[in-house]
Symmetry: none
Subunit: 195 residues, 4 copies
């Protein structure tokens, strides 16, 4: 029976994934402050000490945890952006990906950056904005950096807050939300220097 009774000695990657799963669940339930490493360890089926061996601190774990889904989303967006035929399609496609993700995220408020160490959250917001900026650069190759950055940051902020609002209005369908979001993004890009 290779069925594995021994929980012990998992390959690093898998252990890590399990820990992150547990952490995501607990953080989602209790918020950053409310979550205890104790509980996360318990849920992971391992000891606190191991948690600390893998991630340096509670904040480290939190960051790793949010970063995982953040990165996944933005990687998908950047990939989609690269293959979209034109600016219009890109905008439509990307906002859709984002909003679809938001639908799931609505159930995980922490990942919408609820309470959590400011530094960590800001860093992630900035990373998001940088990804957006890279995408925008495709259609606005001549725009100056600051303007592009501002546009990207505004989009990020708007999207985040839109997500919060949506969390409280789950009955509103994505078909209603997307046009509004697209229009807003379109506005944020207004006046940026194109090719």
């Amino acid at each position: 029976m290779p069925e594995t009774v021994t929980k012990r000695r998992l390959p690093r990657a898998e252990r890590e994934a399990r820990m992150l799963d547990a952490a995501e669940a607990i953080f989602t339930d209790r918020g950053f402050g409310g979550a205890s490493m104790e509980e996360i360890a318990l849920e992971s089926g391992i000891t606190k000490a191991l948690l600390y061996q893998y991630f340096r601190s509670k904040e480290g774990l939190y960051v790793a945890c949010v970063e995982r889904s953040r990165k996944d989303l933005f990687d998908r967006m950047e990939a989609a952006a690269a293959v979209a035929p034109d600016a219009g399609a890109r905008l439509r496609e990307l906002t859709r990906i984002y909003l679809d993700d938001l639908i799931e995220l609505r159930g995980k408020p922490v990942l919408l950056y609820g309470d959590a160490p400011v530094a960590a959250v800001d860093q992630m917001r900035t990373r998001n904005a940088e990804a957006i900026a890279r995408i925008l650069r495709i259609d606005f190759p001549a725009a100056d950096d600051d303007s592009l950055a501002m546009a990207a940051h505004m989009v990020v902020g708007a999207g985040e807050q839109l997500g919060r609002w949506w969390t409280g209005h789950p009955e509103v369908p994505v078909e209603t939300v997307q046009p509004r979001f697209m229009t807003m993004v379109g506005g944020a890009l207004g006046g940026l220097a194109g090719s």
Copy 2:
């Protein structure tokens, strides 16, 4: 016995103001989680117990603290909105007021809602969005509530994140920021049912 040297019985309002000043400073420095009532009391020159007598809890103090500047800003904005001659002027005027305020706020990240009890922060964001919505209503009397709300929330979110970005780029002048912000707001309003 002359009526004494010590215990300068400050009028309640002033005491409160001092407490809020101290709280604002400490919250700003350390974030909500990092701030301790102990330190705030110390900075206020009074005792923790009194802090609790005035505001019920740490969260209460935080809310009072942020609400003070939040309310001031949005009251001014609503007032200005009421007297602006037309939609264009209104937009220009309001974004300017907001950005001018942001310039000061950049030094006080907490007031940009850093870490803090999620509930409290969300409530304030929502209050802000409601104020914005009321203002928008002036120019879009026929818009449906949800669309207006979404627009307002996106504006709030975008403004908040723009503020964060600006904090890290203080050299960028308001003259550069305002047009971008205005364009974005304009976009957010695109397609709303006007008169």
Copy 3:
């Protein structure tokens, strides 16, 4: 019945004394590292938090604790030194006081500086040496500072280690120990510039 059932609200001084008593007992039993604040608090009949409110840390408590008996001893020695009729009497009197104290200290190894934060212990040794130096100054007003300091430090070190040895040989009477200690001190002073 003014008999006091309420443990609460003791005057600061008395509370402090009780805490120190408890701490001394526990430190003596378990050593610095082995002692837990938990246990000390329990023994004091109060909460850990109060312990931390009075002394800043475990080390702070330890220092306060040892300092109390250290200071007591050296105060007595300085007082005795001041009234002794001549150098010989002074030496006899002081070594006696010291050794008598040592007899009790033998049962409290920690106070002979067992394990404990290096910094704290060294600081106390230095304080002792300074007290000794002040006393020596009486009979050697013309000695240079370094020589006096060296003599004092050697006396302190010798006394400390003598105490440790004595702890393992409790059957040896003070009458046997004192002459040897006196001779040694006498040697340490040899060649110091007198009046």
Copy 4:
């Protein structure tokens, strides 16, 4: 297959020496309590587990570490004592060897027995005192054991504390220190039964 590039199978002795070097450095920097096996292993370039395979425990490592230099010193002293022509020369020679060693030791406070498991340290101090006693026995063959032991312990304690003081006054030359130390030792021997 050549016998490989990696895993330089160091001879046991050298491995051990490296571990002890690392341990000495870390213990010196952080004190016994402050040092962590983790860090020592890291500095050694090996794993904690191996550290435990060589020395049984943290204390074992510490003892081995200090014993190394302690033994070296006292072996040299006993050797020198054996060949010195007379008591006076012996005293001069030995104090000089000790002080020369101290000069190096001043930079390694732990080896002056800072904080550390009481038992281990006491044992080493006692071992030192025994070595001293053996040496003293040469010139005081008729002295009773207790008196000799006391003298030896006082010398050890005085030397240790002198070393601590010297650490803080590195500018004082050995020529100034030695006479004072010799005089003190001479005193400690005063009245011991000679031949």
